[in-house]
């Protein structure tokens, strides 16, 4: 018997999560803009969130561990976005661009 909250098999959720993750990953790899990369990171984090929630409801245990993890991830993502965007803005102020390929100040 396949169980899910609304009769939807978990495979669907996992597939959605995987697709979302791959999109994020692809974005991570190809975007030149630091903003774009931060967006991609958000996508991957949310792909993980979908998995947490899906497994959380699928296990049918009297717990909300999946949701709690998702909340943590959202919090983490917010913090990460805040710090990341602050860095990006500062870089922009310094160099008038956000192209990660050109950010070579710390290269040897």
């Amino acid at each position: 018997m396949s169980h899910s909250a609304y009769g939807i098999p978990i495979t669907w959720f996992l597939t959605l999560g995987a697709m979302l993750f791959c999109i994020g990953l692809f974005g991570m790899m190809v975007r030149r803009s630091a903003i774009g990369m931060l967006l991609s990171v958000e996508l991957m984090l949310n792909a993980a969130n979908i998995n947490f929630i899906a497994f959380g409801s699928y296990l049918k245990l009297p717990t909300i561990a999946g949701q709690i993890f998702a909340i943590f991830v959202i919090t983490l993502a917010a913090a990460e976005a805040a710090v990341g965007l602050a860095i990006v803005i500062n870089i922009y102020r310094l160099e008038q661009h956000v192209d990660v390929d050109k950010m070579t100040a710390m290269k040897l």
């Binding site: 018997m1 991570m28 790899m29 990660v100 070579t104």
Partner: protein, 683 residues
């Protein structure tokens, strides 16, 4: 006092240290310190002598007082040191301290103004200490040590004026020639120790009590006792300048004249005679009698041989030096013909008159500034004190009977020789004649006639030099009265030193000898001396016999004698040349075989091996290291392209790797049919 006799040599040692270190600040530039020490030793020696001979200590101690302490352990053997007082030591103590103190006092005048004045007195003190140790040592090791020490001080004092090359050479010669004899002495000590097992002379375990153990037949069929005696005699030959090792003593006259008087006439050279006398039981224990015969003939030969050389010498000190060699030969000869007492007696009297002669010659040299008797003459009026003391000692040396000390001792020697060995007796009489002859030649040439060189302004020496001369002249007359044939105190005291057993042996050897005055011997001895004086007088004082007339017939002989029988030249040609050749051979061996073949060869081979090894190292070891480095470098530069610094490239790599790994894992699961549980989720 006898218990404290060890202080006698100790005081001069202390003086030596003090004068050497603080000489320039000490009173009298160090001279007074040294003289105070030696005079204290003299006082103590006199005290010991009085206590021993007159105070009955000799009887109380049964003729020998000996104290021994442990010195140093060598393996399981303990070497002792100690001193002994017996008649022989006491006589020697007296001789050494009397002459040494007088000579040191005399040196104040003679050495006045010398730049190394304190050092001179320091050496004198060291000499006195060593000599005094030698005469009271009761142990052969201590004897040998002090024996070498007197040799050292002799070397230092002969070469005292080392700025003069001749003095330097003479010092070296003296040291090396006496060393030849000392090797024999040391070998003798070792032999005696091996057989008797003792280094101490006295006591139940001592050498003299155990001489029977030495009575074994050694190499060449010689009894070991004779070999031991001969080896010890080698030391005496070196030190007492007997033929063939006499060559150093005349050269030793390069030292200051007081040194010649003390060391090379009165005391140190007599140490050889003392050694033979001290070890006399060894010679008496030699039943073959061979050792003593060698001693007798070496002594007799030297006595006559050196006396003849003395005739033709023109250096005042050299004449006296050959006279010393000759007189030492007399003593040695006397010991060789069982004249144990006579030999020591002659040593005793000779020390005084010969020291006096040397000090007198020093006074002459001091007054005239020359040593050549051809340049002197007519000094009798200008130096009366020197002349009279010199004459007294000359008469004593010639052996004028009844009034001089030398007369008594020489006659005693001839008396013993008359009894035991007539050949030696004849040689002795000839020696006595020759001695009188050359001594009066010396006196006439020095003190009589007219001054032969007019730029010499002779003057009498200062009083500090004359007082010792007078005292010694006094002794040159009166020292002999202890040993007159009628009341021979000397003999009575000296013979018991041998111990009961050997005293008996000596008695037997001299059995039948006429004790007391011997008219035949007296006539021979006195006649030869007077004849010698007469001959000298008619040749040099009242030239009845002109040397020029003798020249054609005796010219070659004169030349031979004047050149000392070419002994030095013979040594130069044989021994020294031989040694030089040996040294050259050793040098060549060293240079070509050791240095060139072995050392350089090993060096060359080592270098060759190192070269090979170095090549291997550079090629293979370094090559390996370089290859590793090269690989690392190449790999590194290849991998460098991965390290772009672009984060997205890393992510790409990461994802690629993840994909590959995931595919591999999935493929693995599929192969293991692990997909079935996963597939179970579909159900």
């Amino acid at each position: 006092m006898i218990e404290h006799a060890w202080l006698i040599p100790l005081l001069p040692v202390i003086a030596f240290g003090l004068v050497l270190l603080f000489g320039r600040k000490a009173p009298g530039n160090g001279a007074y310190v040294a003289i105070a020490a030696i005079c204290a030793s003299l006082a103590m020696s006199l005290a010991v002598a009085f206590q021993w001979f007159l105070g009955g200590a000799s009887a109380a101690h049964n003729g020998l007082y000996s104290v021994t302490i442990q010195w140093m352990p060598v393996g399981s053997q303990m070497i002792d040191m100690g001193f002994s007082i017996d008649a022989l030591s006491v006589v020697m103590l007296l001789v050494v301290t009397i002459v040494a103190s007088l000579v040191q006092i005399y040196s104040i005048g003679y050495m006045h103004g010398d730049p190394r004045y304190p050092r001179y007195f320091a050496y004198h003190s060291l000499f006195a200490a060593a000599m005094l140790t030698l005469v009271i040592a009761n142990n052969v090791v201590l004897m040998f040590m002090s024996w070498e020490l007197v040799g050292l001080t002799s070397y230092l004092l002969i070469g005292f004026w080392f700025e003069r090359p001749s003095a330097m050479r003479a010092a070296k010669k003296a040291f090396l020639v006496t060393r030849v004899g000392d090797v024999g002495f040391l070998a003798g000590i070792i032999l005696i120790y091996l057989k008797t097992g003792s280094l101490n002379l006295f006591g139940d375990a001592g050498v003299f009590e155990n001489l029977t153990r030495l009575d074994v037949i050694g190499p060449w069929g010689l009894p070991l006792t004779a070999i031991a005696g001969l080896l010890l005699f080698c030391g005496a030959v070196g030190k007492s300048a007997q033929f063939p090792l006499h060559v150093w003593l005349p050269d030793a006259m390069e030292g200051p004249t007081p040194v010649s008087a003390l060391i090379h006439a009165a005391t140190m050279v007599a140490a050889g005679v003392y050694l033979v006398a001290r070890m006399y039981p060894v010679y008496l224990a030699d039943s073959s009698g061979m050792a003593l015969q060698v001693v007798a003939y070496v002594g007799a030969f030297t006595a006559l041989f050196a006396a003849t050389i003395g005739i033709a010498q023109n250096d005042i000190k050299r004449v006296l030096a050959y006279s010393t060699v000759s007189q030492l030969g007399y003593m040695i000869m006397s010991l060789g013909v069982f004249g144990y007492v006579a030999g020591m007696f002659h040593l005793f009297t000779h020390a005084f008159f010969k020291a006096n002669l040397f000090l007198g010659s020093g006074s002459v040299i001091h007054g005239t500034g020359t040593q050549d008797i051809r340049e002197m003459g007519g000094l009798k009026k200008k130096m009366p004190w020197t002349y009279w003391t010199f004459l007294i000692s000359t008469l004593s040396l010639c052996g004028i009977p009844f009034v001089t000390a030398g007369g008594w001792s020489k006659e005693e020697i001839l008396a013993v020789a008359w009894h035991t060995n007539r050949v030696v007796f004849v040689v002795g009489v000839l020696g006595a004649f020759t001695t009188a002859f050359y001594m009066f030649r010396l006196v006439y040439k020095t003190f009589y006639g007219e001054p032969r060189k007019h730029d010499i302004h002779a003057h009498e020496s200062p009083r500090v030099m004359l007082v010792p001369l007078v005292i010694l002249a006094f002794l040159a007359i009166f020292a002999g009265y202890v040993g007159t044939p009628w009341a021979n105190v000397f003999e009575r005291n000296l013979v018991p030193v041998l111990g009961h057993h050997y005293e008996q042996v000596l008695e037997n050897k001299l059995a039948g000898m006429h004790h007391g005055f011997n008219l035949t011997v007296f006539l021979f001895a006195t006649g030869s001396a007077l004849l010698g004086i007469f001959m000298a007088t008619i040749i040099w004082l009242k030239p009845v016999l002109r040397i020029e007339k003798l020249e054609p017939s005796f010219g070659w002989l004169a030349k031979l004698v004047e050149n000392k029988y070419y002994i030095d030249e013979i040594y130069q040609a044989t021994i020294i040349r031989g040694l030089m050749a040996a040294a050259w051979l050793a040098f060549a061996f060293d240079k070509w075989v050791i240095d060139y073949a072995i050392v350089n060869g090993v060096g060359y081979l080592t270098r060759l091996a190192s070269d090979l090894w170095g090549w291997f190292d550079r090629t293979f070891v370094d090559g390996l290291v370089n290859i590793i480095g090269w690989i690392t470098k190449t790999t590194g530069s290849a991998l460098r392209y991965l390290q772009t610094g672009v984060a997205q490239h890393y992510i790409f790599l990461l994802v690629s790797a993840l994909v590959v790994i995931s595919l591999a894992v999935i493929a693995g699961h599929i192969r293991e049919e692990a997909w079935i549980p996963i597939a179970g989720f579909y159900r």
